[in-house]
């Protein structure tokens, strides 16, 4: 008497299944290897950029145009979006805070969120969208039209000539843009909460003063330097490694924004954890957070 088979006959791991499994493992392996190669390549690119940054002054005439594009031209859009974010935050939190009878505390929550998180991330997002994509597109076009090759053939280093000024513009001006986003967000939130919703002016500001400290402001600005660096390195790298043709330039611009944005959010989380642990080390009982 034969024993009943425990094998499920409806599932047969034949050559087709094995082939599909191999293909699945191979595809994922290829993806991981590609991602590691890109990260390594980007690290080498950033290393070269830092080497130039600390060993030679940027070329005359390359700094001011980049500062103008990154700083001055980004200011209106950052200010406008900052204002709306402050107003939307006030609008969204009002209903919930009113139900809890805590609407007088809104000022603290809105301004804390803006200064600590929304202001820096919003300014960085706007910069990645407006400036990062443009950088990738410009450098990508220079790559496909052989302008980068022309630079090299004339004895100029393209990283020194093109990347260093853009990096400096991003890391030095993003704190200013963050301050603008913070300020306009606070103004927008105040306007919506106090002027439009009729909350008490004194309570709104007093709660803000109690909740938001100099440390929170510092944390936001500190993070923005990293965001600026990420935008410059990722966007320039994508532009330098652009594929041929109009489609290649378009892809480089899109990839620059997407990669920058994902990295900004990832680094934001890590920096928040780091800053929190620093704060707990220096002020284990909470303290007044600098001011």
């Amino acid at each position: 008497m034969s024993l009943p088979s425990t094998r499920n006959d409806s599932f047969h791991a034949g050559p087709g299944f094995q082939e599909a499994l191999y293909r699945w493992v191979s595809d994922w392996g290829e993806l991981v290897v590609d991602a590691m190669l890109t990260l390594g390549d980007m690290a080498i690119f950033a290393g070269k950029m830092f080497l130039w940054l600390f060993t030679a002054l940027p070329r005359k005439g390359t700094i001011l145009p980049n500062f103008y594009h990154v700083g001055v031209l980004s200011l209106p859009v950052v200010a406008l979006t900052g204002t709306f974010i402050g107003m939307v935050l006030a609008n969204q939190s009002y209903t919930q805070f009113r139900d809890l009878g805590l609407e007088s505390r809104m000022g603290g929550v809105i301004n804390y969120s803006l200064v600590r998180e929304l202001g820096p991330v919003l300014a960085a997002t706007m910069l990645a969208g407006r400036v990062g994509s443009a950088m990738a597109a410009v450098l990508g076009t220079m790559r496909v039209t052989e302008q980068i090759d022309a630079l090299i053939s004339m004895g100029a280093d393209p990283i020194h000539y093109l990347v260093v000024p853009r990096f400096l513009a991003c890391i030095l001006l993003i704190p200013a843009l963050t301050i603008m986003a913070d300020f306009m967000g606070i103004v927008g939130g105040y306007f919506y909460a106090v002027v439009m919703l009729g909350l008490d002016h004194y309570q709104y500001l007093n709660n803000s003063r109690n909740f938001v400290s100099g440390w929170d402001f510092f944390a936001g600005i500190f993070k923005s330097f990293f965001f600026g660096g990420i935008i410059a390195v990722v966007s320039c790298y994508r532009g330098f490694n652009c594929q041929a043709g109009a489609e290649g330039v378009g892809r480089a611009a899109t990839a620059a924004f997407v990669f920058s944005f994902v990295l900004i959010l990832g680094i934001d989380l890590m920096l928040n954890i780091f800053l929190e642990s620093v704060f707990r080390t220096f002020w284990p009982h909470g303290g007044s957070k600098l001011i």
């Binding site: 039209t145 052989e146 302008q147 090759d149 022309a150 053939s153 004339m154 004895g155």
Partner: protein, 298 residues
């Protein structure tokens, strides 16, 4: 191997015996991923010679030029310039060497963000050679030399025609009085008159005996007019086993009477066997499509 290829003894014009070599490509191979672009290329170019490189699109002409300037690193072999292996040079040495080169890119590769004047002045500024009035004077002189008016220097590259951009590219390449001029398809996309203007400009640089020129072109008029020597490359993928990638190396006058049919067909602009080959490939790829099979079998 054809008789022309067999005489690929580095320099068929015999100039190499009289003048020291400016450039030597020794057994140079260039591969991208798994694709071989250039295969064991040996080429010696004496100082003062004007060499025109011809060949089908995709045969590796531009890559050969770029490997000489160090824009592309050969997979194996050596690129020797004035007796120095450029593959062994560090960045500083390479930058110094590039001051001796003038490269005219296929589409001029002018910097869009700069004016024409700044484009032409770029090498002088980059190497701190001139500034102020002296810089302006040198730029004006070069622009005049290529037949462009002085007011062009305030315009942007986008405001100029293709021919004018090419001439600006030549002015920029010439501004450091280079020892080696490299032209990548300088007359492509230009009308015959403008092509001849560019040819004349190239001939003018040839008058200086110390200037060596390498010109890539598909334009046989240009090749015949400016070349001391013509080198024809054949795409590696279509070579027979063991065949040399340089299928012609000799004076321009010998092109028409070459033993190699591929050289004569290229010079005369006849698709000939190439067309048959393309049709065969298309037919093989679509042999199951009855309509296409009928079309080619008839």
């Amino acid at each position: 191997m054809s008789a022309d290829a067999a005489q690929n003894s580095m320099d068929p014009t015999g100039l190499a015996n009289q003048v020291r070599p400016r450039i030597e490509l020794r057994d140079m191979t260039l591969k991208f991923a798994k694709q071989t672009i250039l295969n064991h290329i040996n080429l010696t170019i004496p100082s003062g010679q004007t060499v025109v490189i011809i060949g089908e699109s995709g045969c590796g002409k531009t890559m050969l030029l770029k490997s000489i300037v160090g824009l592309v690193a050969p997979t194996s072999g050596q690129v020797i310039y004035d007796g120095q292996d450029i593959g062994r040079m560090n960045d500083v040495e390479m930058t110094g060497l590039r001051r001796k080169f003038g490269f005219v890119f296929q589409n001029a590769a002018l910097f869009d963000s700069m004016t024409i004047g700044s484009n032409v002045a770029f090498p002088l500024v980059q190497h701190n050679i001139a500034k102020g009035r002296q810089l302006e004077r040198m730029v004006s002189e070069r622009l005049a030399e290529v037949g462009l008016p002085e007011n062009v220097s305030f315009k942007r590259p986008a405001e100029l025609s293709g021919g004018m951009r090419k001439r600006v590219g030549i002015a920029r390449a010439l501004i450091l009085n280079p020892e080696l001029m490299l032209y990548d398809e300088p007359t492509t996309g230009l009308d015959p008159i403008m092509s001849d203007v560019i040819n004349e400009l190239m001939l003018r640089t040839r008058r200086d005996p110390s200037v060596t020129s390498l010109i890539i072109t598909h334009d046989m008029r240009t090749a015949r007019k400016v070349a001391d020597r013509v080198v024809m490359l054949y795409p590696f993928a279509r070579l027979k086993k063991g065949e040399n990638q340089i299928i012609y190396d000799g004076p321009p006058a010998g092109l028409d009477s070459s033993d190699d049919r591929r050289v004569r067909q290229f010079v005369e602009g006849e698709a000939g066997e190439r067309l048959m080959e393309l049709r065969r490939k298309e037919f093989d790829g679509f042999h199951e499509t009855p309509m296409l099979a009928d079309k080619y079998s008839s």
